[in-house]
Symmetry: C2
Subunit: 333 residues, 2 copies
């Protein structure tokens, strides 16, 4: 294993020091326990939007802390859920009488630890709610999950919930729009190579030189099947079939298309896949109204991509378009 790190035990903390140094205008970092907090938090009257999970998926979640998105992110060890006390520290650093919404990806450890933290916060008299996102259509249950996994839709959910909080919505309304996003978003991923977790030191799985894992999870969890490598047209078509039939998306729907790199895929290939997806959705009569293309929810250096479709209405479109200023997403400011 070759990595640009000092010690697998301190890799998350060491990386957070770089994040804090690079973006001190947007956020601050607390180290014990590790929490990334929006620079101006807490703000009285504004609902706090908080997320977190294992590290190794950067820029998720710390790269989305800032104006119009997250108030705090709680980074666990690599591919490991954050502890309840870390989530609680994030709540305490950001939450006022307006309350907080916790955005939880559906992995067993995350759900348990965020739930425990939410109960501790409630005992302290804070109004803290949780939503669990489970947008991955690949498989029903998985290595770390009962039910579907939370993947690419999380990025869109964090943007839209953060925008709702930012315009002054009350907690009931922020929660409601978050649940709407969860109901309208679906994702599917593929992997060409495996990631290597620093404290493990070897690849998470083995893939043959001509194999693709179809339906990969963001921790390298198995998908639906191993398929032979195929041209991008066929692969993207296969991914869209899985997505469109799941919700299902219909002819005439307006959607946001999010083409995501798992980390190691060159932008050259990512835009190529995005172009194919736009063309194929157009052929189905599905209207791509908004796009996001880039490495936003990754699995360390894994090569692969995911596609996420969110069905849009006017409210979700407006919230998506509203200004955001974070290390990884920035527009309108």
């Amino acid at each position: 294993m070759k990595k640009i790190i000092n010690d697998p035990e301190t890799v998350v903390t060491d990386s957070l020091r770089g994040l804090a140094a690079a973006h001190s205008d947007l956020l601050r970092v607390e180290y014990d326990p590790a929490v990334v907090v929006r620079a101006d938090a807490p703000v009285r009257g504004r609902v706090a939007v908080i997320s977190g999970g294992g590290s190794g998926h950067e820029p998720l979640h710390g790269g989305f802390v800032g104006q119009g998105m997250l108030d705090a992110a709680v980074p666990g060890a690599v591919f490991t859920s954050p502890t309840p006390d870390a989530v609680q520290a994030a709540v305490n650093a950001t939450t006022t009488d307006a309350g907080a919404l916790l955005i939880v990806k559906n992995y067993t450890g995350d759900v348990l630890n965020f739930e425990t933290a939410g109960e501790l916060a409630s005992a302290d008299g804070l109004d803290v709610r949780s939503v669990v996102i489970d947008d991955d259509v690949a498989v029903a249950d998985s290595t770390f999950t009962a039910g579907r996994r939370g993947v690419g839709g999380t990025v869109l959910l964090e943007k839209i919930a953060g925008a709702a909080a930012g315009r002054g919505d009350r907690l009931d309304d922020v929660e409601a729009v978050a649940r709407k996003v969860i109901g309208q978003v679906r994702s599917i991923g593929v992997a060409l190579t495996a990631p290597t977790v620093p404290h493990v030191g070897e690849p998470s799985f083995e893939l043959g030189p001509d194999e693709i894992e179809f339906g990969i999870g963001i921790h390298g969890e198995p998908g639906r099947e191993r398929i032979p490598a195929e041209p991008a047209d066929a692969l993207v078509s296969r991914m869209l079939d899985a997505l469109v039939e799941d919700l299902p998306f219909h002819q005439g729907d307006d959607v946001l298309l999010f083409t995501n790199s798992m980390g190691g895929t060159p932008l050259l290939e990512l835009y190529l896949a995005h172009g194919i997806a736009e063309r194929l959705l157009g052929e189905r009569g599905i209207n791509v109204r908004r796009r996001l293309v880039g490495p936003y929810i990754t699995s360390l250096e894994m090569q692969g991509i995911s596609l996420t479709l969110l069905r849009l209405d006017d409210e979700l479109t407006d919230l998506w378009d509203s200004p955001v200023n974070t290390p990884a997403l920035r527009w309108g400011v």
Copy 2:
């Protein structure tokens, strides 16, 4: 070779279709020859800033077309210089009486082809100048280069020259500030793995499981030496030694620090390296006033990083801070 492509022969064109679909508000793409053009070009009275080079380094250059940066980008085949007629098409699509500045990375093919295009444009009566950037301190001559290679400093140069053109500077002044950047910027890169060019089909070089190429080029050209893998503190220190002693940078200097991923390095590691670089520069009394962290000039899926230092004065700082709206860099708008 596993890649998300249809055909090595069409990979650049296929990828440009995705870029055009994703960012039609910012740019348009011409396909024969391939040129990425800012949506509002040509604008009378504004100097056109144009760059280009082999593909495979995305988001460089097409991802930097837009407000406050490039008017056009000319993508060659992967790791192959664009032809003179493609550069000429970019000039013709963007250049008015205000003239154009061509930003050329110092590779023999690029220099020749941009020079030829510039001569053709001059014969057409257009005022077209070129600057050649050669910021890589690693080696004096290289596989595709007489003199030093142009690498990470190119990103900063394109931003600052584009800002100067955007505020209405005349061609003399845009050229002058570009030459100032070239005089004040230095870069160094390292590789942990090799990239695979689609039409070649196998890795560009071989590295042992515990070897790092110190001073790598962005096409996988050899650097200064192969070194054993070492902790990030030692590696970043070695990189900064090479940079600081070259210009040299002095105690008390104000700098922009650009920590760049070569494509395949996780953001977790990239921010970790950035944090170390900020700390070590601080210990030297060099003041990091601005930062850029991310994959901005890549070498396909190569794992590795580069560090770029630009000495700042008030003018360069103001131009850096001014609004930019491109697919890959966006702030202030």
